[in-house]
Symmetry: D2
Subunit: 377 residues, 4 copies
């Protein structure tokens, strides 16, 4: 693991996610750019001291020199955005598979470069857009792909948070500080942090691609340097339209990312707060409450849950599903076997490129007087 | 009553609304432009045949000639949009108070003219934006006005319907036919029919006014002549931004108009499906579930409900609240008494002018390549 | 109307219920045993002074003497329980149809007597168990009767209120006072007031009859004279078992009466708080959300609603359905026509007898050391 | 780990629970009484073959002989009920701490014996009543203990499942088979499997103890040997009353264990389907929605969650909380430190004894003609 030392949030989440299904063992880490913190973090995590490194470069270099059956197979990179590209590039080029926290890079330029590197090295790559790890999100995608609700016409996707309603970055809050710092987050705040999740979710569930956008991007809290609120009108490649709302100033809201998709014959609705439920709507029949554990769901649900129906699984399990499917794909590759479609259903470098394109296009649109901006990569 | 004959939908709703609180008696009507239907409707409603008229003109003329203590005091006008202005004008100028179904007129021009007439005649006028009749919508307005959630920063208002997902106007459906007919509805379909409700709700609840908008207006169902879907980015006069979604092609959805408003210190959330509930959110305290009948609510709730806490009241009661408050205001005027703020809390001609301005501005924005359109009247 | 003068609660509700569908006109009343209050109430309601009577006897006697086309056709009786039997008996025997507030009488003895009177006079009789007026409650009954969920095995019915959590009868609260007074309510408090509703709902929805019960009846609030809390284990005549919970000391709860029924193949769930929704559950399919206004519902829904799908109707409309169906049945009788099953679907004297038997049996069981008490009439 | 081999359900859940917080490493196991299955299970789990044992006796004996810093510290026992007592006794007496799946034993006699053994050996013991691991269940207990809702008056606890609605044990279903087999489950079916959870939850949350019960216990599905349905009226040691419902024939229901407690001044409500939410009700204030991650919660919430507010945690995390707190308590003991109250908040041997007493008392009451049965141990 690179990043995720003491005080970090997402690193700990990644570690839990790797442990849930027992496909990973954490054996080496470069947890911080601060060597003392790196060491302390490694110790706390029970690693052998000789595999706690002072920098990502050292980690990759030293691990490469270890015998194949000893060295790490997969490297998780959980650093802030500005330290995504370089370690990922080095890891891939040194022969490691990589799991990388989103958004993929600091800029679209880097993202496109990374895509080439993934393709040329042939290593496996996973980008942790967590929400596509939820079983009922996967099921929503399958249902829409099956034609059950007809051609998609309208998408509403929203990610309302309230935690940045005040000038938290002025209060020594680590999470708030780097997320609102252009030097660490890039050109976008809320749009990069959560807008990319909403964007990714909408493309994943519908199987469509955004072709145009029209954005209202705001800095609401005085003194903030990056956007903390935005709403975007979307056009998709089949002619459908959409609305994406992402905000960090929805005072009192938590994290209830939600998507509604309407087709010619019906609709689907999913939200994180009731993550084990998927609503399927029809023009002329009662709405159905699909549930994880229901005997009628596809393999995309059954392979991505652990407890029987009615025992709720949540965010950590969704995260674990990404890691699990990635592990099974790595394993299949090692064994020369074919990965199943369910295994391969994790976000990859293409999602990362489109996510960074979203960031650049949406910020450009926000600054433009032109109504519709083409979604360019 | 003018309009609302056999086969009409909203006329029957208006009549129920007038009966609930026993402030009105229906004594005269011009229920249809078709004289036979008009007569039959009057008979069915048990009216004296000599007060069932063949046209609105006849109704107004004849009623004017009746003794003051016999003739109607208030005229309800529930015709399609293109027959709003003329009867309302004539009724007001003939000395009657008027309750008019929304949207106020066929065009903004007519709306502005009507405003002048209301002002010059001094008659009372109510426009039936039903949703502002819900007690918890009124409470939301009071709470925001009180400063409890701080200055408003963000508004999400949505009105997703699915009933026009197919080409229903091709199937001899009266409701679908006039609503999708530019000759009867005016320049807007969904935006006029339900977009105006959402717009009105957002201005009512926040106490703010829209100053700019940026609209994506669509005709989704093939062959349709007016918009059946749209999303609008909004700017309000205090700098807040908003998103308005109104669609009639959300297959499987019913009528769940919903509003969320976020301020510096908290937020409110209301939706028609759970109309007796209002959520109040805070930055640092648990969300509260405010309920009609709760001992902590203001007079705007207690004067607009009839049954004890926990006995749900719905759409018809919200509608009845408009009529009841209008009646109490008329009564107060007759008695030379001052109407209370609660009585005066019904939508009027100013709401109507702004609603028609919304229709014209939003359709103009939908057709424009310019990103932001000023909200002009 | 008999009872329901100034300060009363349920009388006003009955009057709204009669007005909603315009099948009734209130023309006469004996609103209070206090003559001044009776007069003032009549005046407030706009009745002709000569038809405002000082007692129910006077009302029935004088109205009987009026010409058939002038005198009242239906008498609503909305007095406290101890003044149910006598006026109802007199009204029926004087040739009037009667609508009576529940519970039917002060004692089971009276109830059985009343049943004989209804049968011998041949007059129509409705007992206002409001909850069976909800369209989705009616639909639940139809669905179970159709065999869709198989033979019923288990029933949970609950009616949790919190308004009597304190000694309210000590505070000059009219509603609390008579309900907790054995001289006015009879031998039961909560069990008579709301337990009978829950009991009636369970028999109505399942089509079954209780044959045995095992009750825990409590007086929780110090100083109270009648039960304010109870739970009852039930056996039905097909072998199914049930649990009935009715309490008035569920602090913070309102009025969310709820029923769940499980059969061999599925279940149904309904609760007043989301009254327009009925959940249908299956062993092997997704739960379905049935809604008033859904195109798939039976005539028991469509004839008992007024506004299109998604415009919530509530308690007052459920109440109005009882009155409306009763009126249509009266009308059919007058016209010598057959009432439809939908019209006839209102609670009657048999429900009243069983309700009073419930009261007597449940209180007896509460006092008994014997586990199961036979349900005797 | 003892038990939990291939095909088992709860063993896998226990293993996930141990991994989530990284306080445990699985190093030895006796996974099955079938030696081949035991071996295969150990291999699948990546254990060293010399620590995969053929029986629990072998495991305990051999592990005891290993050096202290090598041998297991805690033994998880996840066998069916009839193989709980012996291995637990042996493990404790051999010096190991034990985590045991519920219900604690096959009989109350065994339970009381086990209690003595725990006390005499001084080893730590945890019984996995999962639901008390949910942060908001813990918070409910704290809130009630604090007096916020006043003295408890009424408890409703329910655990409706539908999975045994058919004769599943006739279809080679391992989970159904042992649970409905008196030789493996003991004298109770549903009451032992889920009734004990409901019972434990009610005593845990209220801090009260049941003193009397009055049970209706049923075998609903033909051919079944143990109860699959029951409802129990309860009396608690402060005079409060309660209703416990546990059923496995609620067709279409999953696993939504739910508790409502009402006191003099308010109430609490929690259910597993929305596990991160706790409702707090008041007599005179709006109901509050308390959430994991809310800044206003106690340390019992903050120490038992992992992701920020709004990222749902579920059943596996609740399970993990038991293991985590047990580990921290073990660790504190090893370090000679005092465990915090939060660490010590896991179910223990006393819960187990009371749970088995519940099983015996409730089955006895079900068979008795006597109304109230004293809760005896």
């Amino acid at each position: 693991m690179i990043g995720g030392g003491q005080g970090a949030f997402i690193g700990a989440i990644h570690r839990i996610a790797t442990r849930i299904d027992d496909h990973y063992e954490l054996v080496a880490g470069a947890f911080s750019s601060n060597p003392e913190k790196a060491k302390a973090s490694g110790e706390e995590l029970g690693l052998s001291p000789d595999r706690v490194y002072g920098s990502y470069k050292e980690l990759i270099e030293k691990e490469s020199q270890l015998p194949e059956n000893v060295r790490v197979q997969v490297i998780s990179i959980v650093t802030p955005n500005h330290v995504h590209f370089e370690p990922t590039k080095l890891a891939l080029e040194s022969g490691f598979h990589v799991v990388l926290d989103k958004p993929m890079t600091f800029s679209l330029e880097e993202a496109k470069e990374l895509k080439k590197i993934v393709e040329s090295t042939g290593k496996l790559f996973c980008l942790t857009h967590t929400y596509t790890g939820y079983p009922m999100v996967k099921e929503a995608r399958q249902i829409i792909a099956s034609g059950k609700i007809g051609a998609v016409r309208k998408v509403y996707v929203e990610y309302p948070q309230g935690w940045l309603s005040t000038f938290l970055e002025g209060e020594d809050n680590k999470q708030a500080s780097w997320r609102t710092d252009p030097g660490k987050s890039g050109i976008a705040g809320a749009m990069g942090d959560i807008g990319t999740h909403a964007f990714n979710l909408s493309e994943y569930v519908t199987g469509l691609q955004v072709t145009k956008l029209n954005a209202d991007i705001n800095i609401v809290v005085e003194g903030r340097k990056l956007d903390d609120d935005g709403a975007v009108l979307l056009k998709y490649n089949n002619g459908a339209s959409g609305v994406l709302m992402a905000t960090q100033i929805a005072a009192g809201d938590e994290n209830n990312i939600k998507i509604r998709v309407y087709g010619e014959k019906g609709g689907i609705e999913w939200q994180q707060d009731i993550a084990n439920t998927l609503l399927i709507k029809y023009l002329d029949k009662p709405t159905e409450i699909w549930r994880t554990g229901g005997g009628y769901t596809s393999g995309y649900v059954t392979t991505n849950m652990r407890a029987p129906a009615g025992h709720p699984e949540g965010y950590l399990e969704a995260f674990a599903n990404l890691y699990k499917n990635f592990a099974l794909t790595v394993k299949a590759q090692l064994e020369g076997a074919a990965a199943t479609p369910e295994m391969l259903d994790f976000p990859g470098v293409e999602d990362g490129v489109r996510g960074m394109a979203f960031v650049e296009n949406v910020i450009a649109s926000g600054k433009s007087d032109q109504k519709w901006t083409d979604f360019t990569i």
